[in-house]
């Protein structure tokens, strides 16, 4: 025991000594100098003159420095000492060849950073389960059409009840809809919320951290005015007060009582608002909501343990079929589509993210290949230097250790760079991810992944650097110093294969980027059907009170419109219930009054004010626009869009015909016009059949979206809008005010995001591949400069020498391009979901990528070749 303790103390002393080495060193030297001084003094006292005494004393001592060095072993840890020396030496050696060091470190950093980031995103977004309890059991239930079985349509209340009542597969179910209240009394702020019915919180498996969720009585009676709030709102508005329960929140003028607080990080699983939800309330059913044809709810269910999605789908389809038979008008063509929530949220992105992961692996491979060849080449070049060192007596082991240290330093530097890149890339992604990249907030770099990737790259560096090192250290120096051109040729061939593969991978990435670019161009060229350049949109939300004070909502809108029209540049102000990307999934079954048993057509209903079509620039194909005469007192009228007219009337002119707007509609309207299709869901989505109602004759909700047509830039009008709103309605808030072009940009956000991602990878791959080609050719040139010089001396022209090298380089490039084209055709399918009007094998995109690579590749080949051809023959021959 004592021995152990002594040894431990001794080891600690050594470590401590190493840490405070400088101080110990100085102390030792001082002590020794004292000794020498004392000895010198003693000798002086025996009569020797001072300089002689000192000389003798120093001689007798044996020299302070050597003894200090020897003594160092006793208080410092030797291996660490040597390691420090090795590191310093290796660092100096690396700094001597800056281009090599930078190339290797950069390649490593990029490879590690890119791969770690891509894998982190995949892991967090796709692979990890959702943050709900046993999220694998949560499914969405959508209303679909028999012709479109994967359609995700909203559901009606009676359908929902029929699906879940007594269903043995379902443990708990809930239906809900979006709620956009204004928070606060004086300066209200728009927030996002959810109106729920059923067992919302049980389906998600969430327990409130404070208070409770809704009781059955509160669910049945929404006038109870209770809300559950999110953790974030609780912190923001209620100061995280532990006694927040029972406090009041004013939402759109109505006072609600807070009865519960949810845990942090709970996002509502549908995410159709850009803001996360902050409040939940029992659902408030508007009139007409109980109709079977009114599809306005989203449904989630938790399956019982042991029930598979297929089983649930089968049973529900059975129920839906029964409903189709019982209610042919509303449910005739309709069924139910069961989609696991994980797939719902992540699904559309899964393939793309996996493709991005593939791209980053390509980049990593290219980076590693480059690094391997660079390191290998360098060590081969240093073979001569190593041989020389061996010849003058350096130990082989020490040399190998030195070379390993160099590789480790490179690896460490690359690793640090890679971590930095991963951290900043994930940070950027969190901030700038497209709205539909699910769970973006969870993207935090994974230490595990970083470690794995780091190890992989480190292994590459060491392996490729080690072999020539060991060979160099062990082989007889004499052999090494001879010209070993055979070895070089074999290595050169391997290198050119590697470079070909690099080019192939770069081609794939470039081609994909090209496809996305072409898609963007196509999409932007697609007309939306309305005049987006001159339109601005916004919503006004206010509690009921202020509207009542202004007379009524309609009176307010009249005054507001009149005021706004007085602003310079404003041509027209209209309202609509379905804006660009602002509409929900609410559809109604419309049909002709004469055929009660035909399945009706799901149409989107848009309530618009007079002059809507003139203001938005949507062309009227037949008939007329709505006028002020089409009010609540006038005859009921409607306008159809082109798709609806085609579906209903198949080529006949529908003007003058009659239409029922929804199931249970008693009064048919007369169709007075047909409008051209406007692509409210974006240029890439199919156009929906649409039915327009005039403002005063709305059958569903009111129109909340304003559209303002301006002569100048719509963005310039926004401050005026806020001002006029505040003047007329002090308690109101303007929300979502922006030019329509901004919203239109959101349609292509995914293409742009992935375009940037693939573009980045493609650029990196291109740069790395170019470095690879350049390195390969330069290396070959150096090895064969004797041959070149001799040929030139024998009369070959510079041109012919050039052509030789060019030919070899082009063969490598050509091989790479060939393989690359095949790979592209196979791989580009993965981005098909992003493409619009562009085939995954679009010849223009692929051809363009080939051309770019060819040009860059040939340039990278030419530069060293030209340099070789120009090198003065005499110098080369003389130096050999």
């Amino acid at each position: 025991m004592r021995n152990l303790w002594t040894r431990l103390r001794s080891a600690l002393r050594l470590l401590a000594g190493w840490i405070v080495a400088r101080r110990e060193d100085a102390d030792a030297r001082e002590e020794m100098r004292f000794h020498v001084d004392m000895q010198a003094d003693k000798l002086q006292r025996t009569g020797l003159p001072a300089p002689e005494a000192r000389r003798r004393a120093e001689l007798a001592f044996g020299g302070v420095t050597p003894w200090a060095e020897l003594a160092r072993d006793e208080y410092r840890w030797r291996p660490l000492d040597e390691l420090a020396a090795d590191v310093r030496y290796a660092a100096r050696a690396l700094l001597h060849v800056p281009s090599f060091t930078i190339a290797v470190v950069l390649s490593l950093a990029i490879g590690i950073g890119a791969t770690s980031t891509a894998y982190t995103v995949i892991d967090r977004v796709v692979l990890r389960p959702l943050p709900y309890r046993e999220s694998g059991r949560i499914v969405s239930l959508w209303t679909n059409d028999h012709d479109r079985p994967t359609e995700q349509g909203g559901s009606s209340l009676p359908d929902y009840l029929d699906w879940v009542a007594g269903n043995p597969d379902i443990e708990a179910a809930t239906a809900f809809n979006v709620w956009l209240p204004l928070l606060g009394g004086d300066t209200p702020r728009p927030i996002a919320g959810v109106s729920v019915m059923g067992d919302y919180f049980r389906v998600l498996g969430t327990q409130p951290i404070l208070g409770r969720t809704f009781s059955p009585e509160e669910m049945a009676n929404p006038s109870a005015r209770v809300v559950v709030v999110s953790y974030e709102l609780w912190q923001r508005e209620l100061n995280g007060d532990a006694h927040a329960l029972g406090k009041h929140l004013t939402l759109t003028g109505i006072v609600y009582t807070v009865i519960g607080v949810l845990p942090s990080g709970l996002r509502d699983p549908q995410r159709w608002t850009a803001q996360p939800s902050d409040v939940w309330r029992p659902v408030v059913l508007p009139p007409g909501a109980r109709q079977r044809g009114t599809h306005f709810l989203r449904v989630l269910a938790r399956l019982r343990p042991g029930v598979t999605v297929e089983q649930a789908q089968l049973h529900l389809t059975g129920i839906a079929t029964r409903l189709s038979a019982e209610y042919p008008r509303s449910n005739g063509n309709r069924g139910v589509y069961v989609l696991p929530l994980q797939d719902q949220i992540v699904g559309p992105s899964r393939t793309l993210l996996l493709a991005a992961l593939g791209a980053s692996l390509c980049v990593l491979l290219i980076a590693c290949a480059n690094v391997a060849t660079l390191v290998h080449a360098r060590q081969a070049v240093r073979a001569g230097e190593l041989a020389l060192r061996r010849a003058i007596g350096a130990e082989a082991g020490r040399l190998v250790r030195l070379l390993i240290t160099e590789s480790l330093l490179l690896g460490a530097a690359g690793g640090v760079g890679g971590i930095a890149i991963a951290l900043s890339a994930t940070g950027l992604l969190r901030r700038f991810a497209p709205a539909d990249l699910p769970r973006a907030e969870e993207i935090v770099p994974d230490a595990r992944v970083l470690a794995v990737v780091l190890l992989v790259t480190l292994a590459t560096v060491i392996l490729f650097g080690l072999r020539p090192a060991i060979v160099g250290a062990r082989t007889d120096p004499g052999l090494l110093l001879q010209d070993a051109s055979v070895r070089h040729t074999r290595h050169g061939r391997a290198r050119s294969v590697v470079v070909s593969l690099e080019i192939a991978m770069a081609l794939v990435l470039l081609a994909v980027t090209g496809l996305l670019t072409r898609t963007l161009i196509h999409v932007n060229a697609q007309p939306l059907g309305l005049d987006a350049d001159h339109l601005a949109t916004f919503r006004i939300a206010a509690p009921v009170g202020p509207f009542e004070a202004a007379g009524s909502y309609d009176a307010f809108v009249k005054r507001f419109t009149a005021e706004l029209l007085r602003e310079p540049g404003v041509i027209a102000v209209v309202t609509t219930s379905e804006g660009l990307l602002a509409g929900g999934n609410t559809t109604f079954i419309a049909g002709s009054p004469g055929e009660p048993h035909d399945p009706g057509i799901d149409t989107r209903v848009n309530t618009v004010s007079a002059g809507y079509f003139a203001a938005t620039g949507i062309r009227l194909i037949e008939g007329r626009d709505f006028t002020a005469g089409d009010s609540a007192r006038g005859a009921r009228v409607a306008i159809l869009n082109k798709s609806a007219a085609a579906l209903f009337y198949r080529g006949e002119n529908p003007v003058g015909k009659q239409l029922l707007h929804y199931l249970g509609d008693k009064t048919p309207s007369t169709i007075v016009g047909v409008a051209d299709d406007a692509r409210l869901d974006g240029p890439m989505a199919a156009v929906r059949p649409e039915l327009f109602e005039p403002e005063g004759q709305a059958s569903w909700g009111g129109s909340g979206n304003f559209l303002v047509r301006t002569t100048r830039d719509p963005a310039a009008i926004l401050p005026a809008i806020t001002r006029v709103t505040k003047e007329l309605l002090p308690g109101a808030a303007v929300s979502d005010a922006r030019p329509l072009t901004d919203i239109a940009a959101r349609f292509t956000v995914r293409q742009r995001f992935y375009g940037v991602v693939f573009g980045a990878f493609a650029t990196i791959a291109l740069v790395l591949a170019s470095i690879g080609i350049y390195g390969l050719v330069a290396y070959t040139v150096v090895q064969r400069r004797r041959e070149i010089a001799i040929r030139t001396a024998l009369g070959a022209s510079a041109g012919r020498v050039l052509v030789r090298f060019l030919r070899e380089g082009v063969v490598t490039i050509g091989l790479g391009l060939g393989v690359g084209v095949f790979a592209t055709v196979a791989a580009s399918r993965v981005v098909r979901s992003l493409l619009f009007d562009v085939s995954p094998t679009d010849p223009l995109a692929i051809g363009g990528a080939v051309a770019v690579l060819l040009i860059i590749g040939v340039a990278a080949t030419l530069i060293p070749a030209i340099a070789a051809a120009r090198a003065p023959v005499v110098d080369v021959l003389r130096s050999e």
Partner: protein, 117 residues
């Protein structure tokens, strides 16, 4: 310092017993490195000549083992020097080394003075 005379025992033989001699030198009172070397020289009547530099690695080794400690102090001449002192463990070690030295030297003695039969 005595000159090396031919036939006299050489300083290098000292090395194995250096540790023991240092501990013995410090038995009386703490001393700095030069003082230790002087003391050993005096006591042995200049027979044992410690190669002066080699003292220090030995001192540090003994310190690492925990048998001596060191402090910086000021000498009578107002110079800074590092003084070494025996620890309790050091004293025990000294006794142990003395015992094994005595055993060793007696054994060698017996062998060397043995008369051929």
């Amino acid at each position: 310092m005595a000159e090396q005379k031919a036939g006299e025992p050489r300083g290098e033989m000292l090395y194995g017993a250096l540790d023991m001699l240092i501990l013995k030198a410090l038995q009386l009172e703490p001393m700095h490195g030069w003082g230790i070397s002087e003391r050993i020289g005096q006591w042995s009547e200049e027979v044992l000549e410690v190669n002066q530099g080699s003292l220090y690695p030995a001192l540090y080794r003994l310190k690492r083992a925990g048998w001596i400690t060191s402090t910086w102090q000021v000498t009578e001449n107002n110079r800074r020097a590092r003084y070494y002192a025996l620890t309790a463990d050091g004293r025990k070690q000294l006794a142990a080394e003395l015992r094994s030295w005595q055993r060793l030297s007696r054994a060698i003695d017996i062998v060397m003075t043995m008369k051929p039969a």
